[in-house]
């Protein structure tokens, strides 16, 4: 953040403090969306409570012309709309910053800060004048402060107006009320408030970009991958994956009253995965979406699907654990569990998207890998990716794409075979052929989670049992070449590596730049899948030391790297952030600076 005196164009951060259930969310995203439409790189992070109404909630907007939109920890302006949290909120604005508050009532002196400018807008009064119903007054207060911010930040008011018109298309009354509230705030600020040392100016950075949350993108990926069966049990923050999948199916998969999909709201997560496994066994592309507690409950069936070699796609939108933890906070703490889920010797395939664009791509990849390798594939996103709106490149689709259904024998291929062995005749990747129920006579086999030989027959013979589980281990290794390769950003002469995954991407890449300013040159690698491709090990070995940046307490990624690449743990240090809020570049910079003793 540059000094407050000189003007900051397209480089500032806001924090809006509200009470949840009062309609602030729409006003806040309205601002973010307007800035996006002005072509300026922006991010909006919703920090909300696990509650329906009445508790504190925050929204952070970061504007940065260079695209560094990870969470800022210093705020140029705070909108203080929540009396419960005034004190804390006001204390968070940087020295020289600003506080916008509802000046209908005077702000108590304890709250004032000498090094901060207070901008009063009589929101309640303004709205009370113009609106009758109490509910309207409450809701429109938000649009009113949005109007004031539009004026203060130099956001193009026409863009905002257009957005409101779109939102309330066909609802004239609502539209007018909102437009009025916007004007109230806008005019008041224009008349009574000083210009700010930071503002938005139009850019071209939104060309070919869209605004989308990860759960919508994941749902879209499942739609495009051809998933027809979905089973789930509601759980924050994954619920909107299924909500969106259902909405998309309604839109694209319902032809003249016929629905080319079946979504079951299961009785629990065990059931949800059971249904996915049953459907996949039967030839449908099926998936479930859940969060940590659901993964814990799915443990037994994950081991079953691994051993019986049945495809399954599981989306884990991670939240803060352990146990119920903080359901509306983010973390990356299900890595170890997902990698080795279930009793006995089990290893799974994991994908780690970093943003909604990858959620879309990896969802499609997940189905291909699950069917190719006949095993569960887990897509690990998190609350930050899944529930926040992100600016990402427009999603693209290649119409020549054909799904990889893996080794499923047709009736003809079956006939051609002297004998069908479900768990023999492996290919180069140790995958064996399967048949689909009902496909025709001669292809029957018996699925079991109990000991079986390569023919699928029950066995308790050590050698026959081992023959199958040994192949499973090789098959898992083979998948390493098929998961998305790590993405590496190199800087000349770097001897230090920084490793991250998922939503660590933006903050870590921003941090790399900031570190360079401090004379610490680092290469960055973002792992995108497990088992790790050879390039991961290579990167670790190329560097004297690597900092593994992850959002959990126990250095779970570092643990996986140590176990699976054989690289000595001594060369891997940790940067851990697990308080539940999205990672900030600052946290990474501070930690690495401290550890490198600069």
């Amino acid at each position: 953040m540059s000094a407050p005196s000189i003007t900051q164009v397209n480089d500032f951060a806001l924090k809006l403090a509200n009470v949840n259930g009062t309609g602030s969310a729409s006003a806040n995203s309205l601002l973010m969306k307007a800035i996006f439409r002005m072509g300026v790189p922006v991010s909006g992070k919703n920090l909300f409570p696990s509650n329906i109404q009445g508790l504190p909630t925050w929204y952070e907007i970061r504007v940065n012309k260079d695209g560094h939109t990870s969470r800022a920890l210093e705020y140029d302006l705070i909108v203080a709309m929540n009396a419960q949290t005034y004190a804390a909120d006001i204390s968070e604005v940087r020295s020289g910053g600003f506080v916008l508050y509802d000046s209908t009532w005077p702000l108590s002196d304890e709250l004032s800060r000498a090094d901060v400018t207070f901008l009063g807008v009589p929101l309640t009064a303004l709205c009370a004048d113009k609106f009758e119903r109490a509910r309207d007054r409450l809701l429109l207060k938000n649009i009113c402060y949005a109007g004031a911010l539009v004026a203060l930040l130099g956001i193009d008011v026409d863009v905002v107006r257009a957005l409101l018109d779109e939102t309330f298309a066909g609802k004239a009354k609502l539209r007018d009320a909102n437009q009025l509230a916007l004007a109230l705030g806008f005019d008041y600020a224009t008349e009574h408030l000083p210009p700010l040392p930071f503002r938005v100016e139009p850019m071209q950075a939104s060309e070919g970009k869209i605004l989308i949350d990860g759960n919508t993108a994941t749902a879209l990926g499942c739609l495009y991958a051809g998933a027809t069966v979905a089973a789930w049990y509601p759980i924050t923050p994954s619920t909107s994956v299924m909500d969106n999948f259902a909405a998309l199916c309604k839109r694209y998969r319902s032809h003249d009253g016929e629905n080319d999909y079946l979504i079951v709201q299961a009785e629990d997560e065990l059931a949800a995965l059971g249904m996915v496994v049953g459907a996949s066994w039967n030839g449908a592309r099926a998936f479930t979406a859940t969060s940590g507690p659901g993964i814990s409950l799915m443990n037994e069936l994950l081991g079953f699907a691994y051993y019986a070699e049945i495809p399954a796609v599981i989306v884990d939108v991670q939240r803060t654990g352990p146990s119920t933890g903080m359901p509306t906070r983010t973390q990356q703490a299900d890595l170890l569990l997902c990698a080795y889920a279930s009793h006995g010797d089990t290893k799974h395939v994991l994908l780690f998207p970093a943003d909604p664009a990858e959620c879309f791509d990896f969802a499609v990849t997940a189905f291909d890998l699950a069917e190719r390798f006949q095993t569960p594939v887990m897509v690990l996103t998190d609350l930050d990716i899944g529930m926040n709106d992100w600016v990402v490149p427009e999603l693209t689709w290649d119409d020549s794409f054909l799904p990889d259904r893996g080794r499923v024998l047709t009736a003809e291929e079956l006939h051609a075979l002297p004998r069908f062995n479900r768990y023999a005749d492996e290919d180069a990747e140790f995958v064996t052929p399967r048949t689909l129920p009902g496909a025709g006579p001669g292809g029957a086999y018996f699925v079991r989670g109990s000991g079986h030989d390569k023919h699928g027959a029950y066995t308790e013979a050590p050698d026959k049992y081992q023959e199958v589980v040994d192949r499973l281990a090789r098959k898992h290794t083979a998948a390493a070449l098929h998961v998305p390769a790590p993405i590496v950003h190199r800087r000349a002469g770097a001897r230090i590596g920084v490793v991250c995954l998922g939503s660590g991407d933006l903050p870590v890449r921003e941090a790399a730049g900031l570190l360079q300013d401090k004379g610490i040159v680092v290469d960055v690698m973002r792992v995108r899948g497990f088992p790790f491709p050879p390039a991961v090990r290579a990167f670790l070995e190329e560097h004297d030391v690597c900092f593994v940046v992850e959002q959990n307490r126990d250095a779970q990624l570092r643990s996986l790297l140590t176990l699976e690449t054989g690289v000595s743990g001594a060369r891997l240090r940790s940067v851990l952030s697990y308080g539940g809020f999205p990672l900030s570049a600052k946290t990474v910079v501070d930690s690495i600076t401290a550890q490198t003793g600069e």
Binding site: S206, L220, G274, A284, P403, G449
Partner: protein
């Protein structure tokens, strides 16, 4: 059919069905269950039912959980895909499988432990969803495979092999099913194959989930004096709600019509049952529940078709899916394609 020739003599077993298949074609692997285990009789009845309905074996999907009972899916219809899942989760696997392909005949075989303890909620919700399948519980009142602990279906006072009485209220899957809106509930006895086969056939022809509780004694751990799930006890305490009326069986003639319930099954076939207690009505849910309750309080075991309603749509009908299996839909029909994606994203700006 020979039956027309000599109507008064019980039919000789037919050698070949409409598909030209013999009962052999409906058999499976050799049973590894104990000699005399009730479950093997259920297997035999399933073989006969599938054979008589001329269902192509490869069109059958067999599903089970874990237990001696759950092993039986390996012992019939060897030409059918089988799915021996994990303990208690079979109903969820069946629901997903059925969702993917509505064309197969789903035969779920479970045990009283598998379905009434660890899997209870899954059974309950499969019933609510009216997933089209035959759901057989081979009910022996114990956990056979783990050597004889009481299951949740053990009656109060029924004694273990060691002589300890069970203290807890039993779960009658039929009463449970009725309270959950089950659309087909019946009870058979593995000791009476003749009356079990028609129930299985009716279940296989049902529109939704057909729940058939089969009392299937465990000769190893629960067939002793003092057990209410022994062959002897059931024989002595069986009462019948309804009795199957074989087609063209002359006895129909002698029965007052109002005693006969004809159930036109979803697949077009028609099953006729004769109410045994005066005016028993298998279409009266509350009445059926009351009858089960009262007979149980009297220490009796109700068998027969207890309740049936072919009027309730199954999971697919409720979901408006196409007649063809979802798993068979071509990719181009499922993927909206690049243009639609571009259109959609105009809304994301």
């Amino acid at each position: 059919m020979p039956s027309i020739a000599k109507p008064l003599i019980p039919l000789a077993p037919v050698r070949r069905n409409d598909l030209g298949l013999s009962p052999r074609d409906y058999e499976g692997a050799m049973s590894t269950l104990c000699a005399g285990c009730g479950h093997d009789s259920v297997t035999a009845a399933l073989v006969q039912a599938l054979f008589e309905l001329s269902i192509p074996p490869y069109k059958v999907a067999k599903l089970s959980g874990i237990g001696c009972s759950s092993k039986t899916t390996a012992y019939f219809a060897g030409e059918a895909h089988g799915f021996n899942s994990v303990h208690g989760r079979m109903p969820t696997i069946a629901t997903g499988a059925n969702a993917a392909n509505r064309e197969l005949h789903y035969v779920g075989v479970s045990g009283d432990g598998d379905s009434l303890s660890i899997g209870l909620s899954h059974l309950a919700h499969a019933i609510r969803r009216n997933v089209r399948m035959l759901y057989v519980i081979e009910n022996n009142g114990v956990y056979g495979l783990t050597k004889g602990q009481f299951s949740a279906s053990a009656d109060i006072g029924s004694t273990s092999k060691k002589g300890d009485p069970n203290a807890f209220a039993p779960i009658d899957p039929l009463l449970l099913g009725l309270s959950l809106g089950a659309t087909f509930v019946a009870r058979g006895f593995s000791g009476d194959k003749q009356r079990l086969v028609p129930l299985l056939k009716a279940g296989l022809s049902h529109r939704g989930l057909a729940l058939i509780d089969v009392i299937s004694p465990c000769v190893q751990f629960n067939d002793h004096e003092g057990s209410t799930k022994s062959y002897r006890f059931v024989r002595e305490h069986e009462v019948t709600a309804t009795d199957f009326v074989p087609p063209q069986d002359p006895i129909i003639a002698h029965v007052p019509d109002e005693g006969v319930v004809t159930v036109p099954m979803h697949d077009g076939s028609v099953m006729s049952f004769r109410s045994v207690p005066e005016g028993y009505d298998p279409s009266d849910r509350a009445g059926a529940a009351r009858y089960l309750q009262e007979r149980r309080d009297a220490g009796e075991v109700v068998t027969g078709l207890v309740y049936a309603d072919e009027g309730v749509p199954d999971l697919h009908e409720l979901s408006g899916t196409p007649a063809v299996p979802l798993a068979a839909l071509p990719f181009f029909r499922l993927c909206p394609g690049a243009d639609e994606l571009a259109k959609l994203q105009e809304g994301f700006r």
